[in-house]
C-alpha cells in the first residue's frame, strides 16, 4: 500500500518534470491551450451556474431557518451566504464537480490516445508527449477554473438573494447590508488560492491516470473513475491544509 503510493507519486513527479519542458513549437501549444480553455471553461459554465445558484439558495434558506427565533439580526443571512460561498463552497464544490466533469474527460481522452497508440505515434515523431498533452490542459485549467469559481461565488450570492428576498425571509435592504458587512478581502485571496490549487490537482491527477493507462475498455473506465475519486480526495485534503495554513 505505502510502496504503491510512493510508486505512483514518483511516476507522477517524473511525468510532471517532463511536462514542464520547453515546448517544441509555441504556436501548436497555444492552439491546443485555446481549445482546452474552450472545452473546460465554456463547456462547464452551465453546470457550474446551476450548482452555484442552488447552493446559494439552499444556504440562505437553511441559515434563515436556523436564525428563526434567535436574536441574531436577519441581515446576517447575506453575510453568511457571502462568506460561506467565497471561503468554502464556491471553490470546493465547483472543483469537486469539475473533477467529475473535466477530470474524467481528460483521463478518458489521454487514456484513449495511449491505448490507440496515438501517444507512441507522437513519441516516434519526436514530440514530448507529456508536455504536449498535459501543459496546455494545465494552463487552460489554471486560467479557466479560477474564473469559474469567481463566477460561482457571485452566482451563489445571487441565488441566496433570489431564495430569501422574494420569499420575505429577509428584506432586500438587509440582504445587501449583510453582503456589505464585515468584508475581509483576504477571503477572496483564499478563494483564488484554493481554486488554483484544486485546478492543478484535478488536471494533473487526471492526466496521470490517463497517461499511464494499460489494457482495454475496462481499464480506461477505471482510469476515468480513479481520476475523479483521487482528485476529489486530494482536493478535500488540500482544502483542509489550506484552511489550516491560511486561517492561522
Amino acid at each position: 500500500m505505502i510502496s504503491g503510493l510512493l510508486y505512483h507519486f514518483g511516476q507522477y513527479l517524473i511525468m510532471m518534470r517532463a511536462a514542464l519542458a520547453r515546448p517544441e513549437k509555441i504556436s501548436m501549444y497555444w492552439k491546443e491551450t485555446l481549445r482546452q480553455m474552450h472545452d473546460i471553461g465554456v463547456g462547464s459554465l452551465i453546470i457550474v451556474m446551476l450548482i452555484s445558484i442552488f447552493i446559494g439558495a439552499v444556504s440562505a434558506v437553511q441559515f434563515a431557518y436556523q436564525l428563526d427565533g434567535t436574536l441574531v439580526p436577519s441581515y446576517y443571512i447575506g453575510y453568511v451566504v457571502r462568506d460561506l460561498t467565497i471561503i468554502e463552497l464556491a471553490p470546493t464544490i465547483t472543483c469537486l464537480v469539475l473533477a467529475g466533469k473535466v477530470g474524467s474527460n481528460i483521463a478518458a481522452e489521454i487514456g484513449g490516445m495511449r491505448q490507440k497508440e496515438h501517444i507512441d505515434a507522437m513519441e516516434i515523431m519526436g514530440v514530448n508527449t507529456a508536455a504536449y498533452l498535459i501543459t496546455p490542459k494545465l494552463v487552460a485549467a489554471l486560467v479557466m477554473i479560477p474564473l469559474l469559481v469567481a463566477a460561482a461565488s457571485f452566482l451563489a450570492i445571487m441565488g441566496g438573494y433570489v431564495a430569501s428576498v422574494p420569499t420575505d425571509l429577509v428584506t432586500q435592504a438587509d440582504y445587501v447590508k449583510g453582503l456589505r458587512s464585515f468584508f475581509v478581502p483576504y477571503n477572496v485571496t483564499m478563494m483564488f488560492v484554493k481554486a488554483f490549487v484544486f485546478a492543478f490537482i484535478l488536471t494533473t491527477v487526471s492526466c496521470y491516470q490517463g497517461y499511464f493507462v494499460k489494457g482495454g475498455a475496462i481499464e480506461l473506465g477505471r482510469a476515468s473513475t480513479n481520476a475523479v475519486v483521487v482528485s476529489d480526495i486530494l482536493i478535500l485534503l488540500a482544502d483542509y491544509i489550506i484552511a489550516i495554513i491560511m486561517t492561522q
Binding site: A18, K25, H118, A121
Partner: protein
C-alpha cells in the same frame, strides 16, 4: 544502418526475445518475419525506442541509441517514421491534419509549403483529394496508406512498418509493398518491416530475418528462401500443402 546487438527482452518471467543480433541495411527493405507471438512487434518497438530491452544495444549508424538523453532521442526521432500495426491515426483530425501534424510541430514552413508536401505524400500513396476526410471515414487499407503518408512526410532516414499489409487484399497489399520499396530505394532509407505475408516476403525481401520463439532462426534474402533447408523456415513459409507443391515445382530442374 540500424544494428541490434544481443537484444534480450523479458516481461516478468516470460522471455520474449533471446539474444537477437541483426544488421538492418540502408536503402533496403529489411523484413522481420515469424509466427504470431514470435516477438516481432516487441523487437520493432525496441528498435524504435518505445520499449527498453532487458539487455543489449541498439545502434543508429554511429549512435548508441540507448545511451542517449531525452533531447538527443527526440532529435533522432525526427528522422524516424513509423507505421503502426493499427495505423494510429489521430481520429479527431482530418487526413490532411494528420499528415501535416509533424510539419506543424517541427518545421517553420509556410501554409502553402506544408499543403504542397501533404498533397505530394497523399499522391504518393494514391489518396489524392481525400484531404478533408476523417480516419473513421476511410477503409482499413486507406488508413494504412495515410499512416504511410504521415510517416514519410518529414523525409525520414529510418522507417519502421509493423505489418503494413495485414488485413488487406492481395492487390492492395502488393501496392503498399511496392510503395514502401520505392520510397526506400529513392530516399536511401533504412526500412524495417514486420510481416507474415508471404507475398511481401517474395516481393520485397531484400533481407529476411525469421524469428522463432524469440530467437533469430534464419536470415537471408528472397532467393535463398526457396533453396534453404532450414526446417523452421520451410515450416513457416510453406505452411500449406499448396505452397509446398509450388516449392517442389520451382526447385525441379
Amino acid at each position: 544502418m540500424i544494428r541490434a546487438k544481443n537484444i534480450f527482452k523479458s516481461f516478468g518471467t516470460q522471455e520474449v526475445l533471446k539474444d537477437i543480433s541483426i544488421d538492418f541495411e540502408t536503402g533496403k527493405c529489411n523484413l522481420i518475419i515469424g509466427r504470431s507471438g514470435a516477438g516481432k512487434t516487441v523487437l520493432l518497438k525496441i528498435l524504435a525506442g518505445l520499449l527498453t530491452p532487458t539487455r543489449g544495444e541498439v545502434w543508429y549508424d554511429d549512435t548508441n541509441f540507448l545511451t542517449l538523453g531525452k533531447q538527443e532521442v527526440r532529435e533522432i526521432r525526427m528522422k524516424v517514421g513509423m507505421l503502426f500495426q493499427g495505423s494510429a491515426l489521430f481520429d479527431s483530425m482530418t487526413v490532411e491534419e494528420n499528415i501535416r501534424f509533424p510539419l506543424d510541430m517541427f518545421t517553420n514552413k509556410t501554409r502553402k509549403e506544408k499543403l504542397d508536401r501533404v498533397n505530394y505524400c497523399l499522391e504518393r500513396v494514391n489518396l489524392k483529394d481525400n484531404n478533408d476526410k476523417f480516419p473513421s471515414e476511410l477503409s482499413g487499407g486507406m488508413q494504412k496508406r495515410v499512416g504511410i503518408a504521415r510517416s514519410i512526410v518529414l523525409k525520414p532516414m529510418y522507417l519502421f512498418c509493423d505489418e503494413p499489409n495485414s488485413g488487406l487484399d492481395p492487390k492492395t497489399s502488393i501496392l503498399i509493398d511496392n510503395l514502401i520499396e520505392s520510397i526506400t530505394e529513392e530516399n536511401n532509407i533504412t526500412t524495417i518491416i514486420n510481416t507474415h505475408d508471404m507475398n511481401s516476403v517474395m516481393e520485397i525481401g531484400d533481407r529476411i530475418n525469421l524469428l522463432y520463439q524469440g530467437k533469430l532462426a534464419w536470415a537471408g534474402n528472397k532467393s535463398e528462401v526457396l533453396e534453404s533447408d532450414n526446417e523452421l523456415l520451410k515450416d513457416f513459409i510453406f505452411a500449406s500443402p499448396f505452397l509446398q507443391k509450388l516449392r517442389q515445382a520451382a526447385l525441379e530442374p
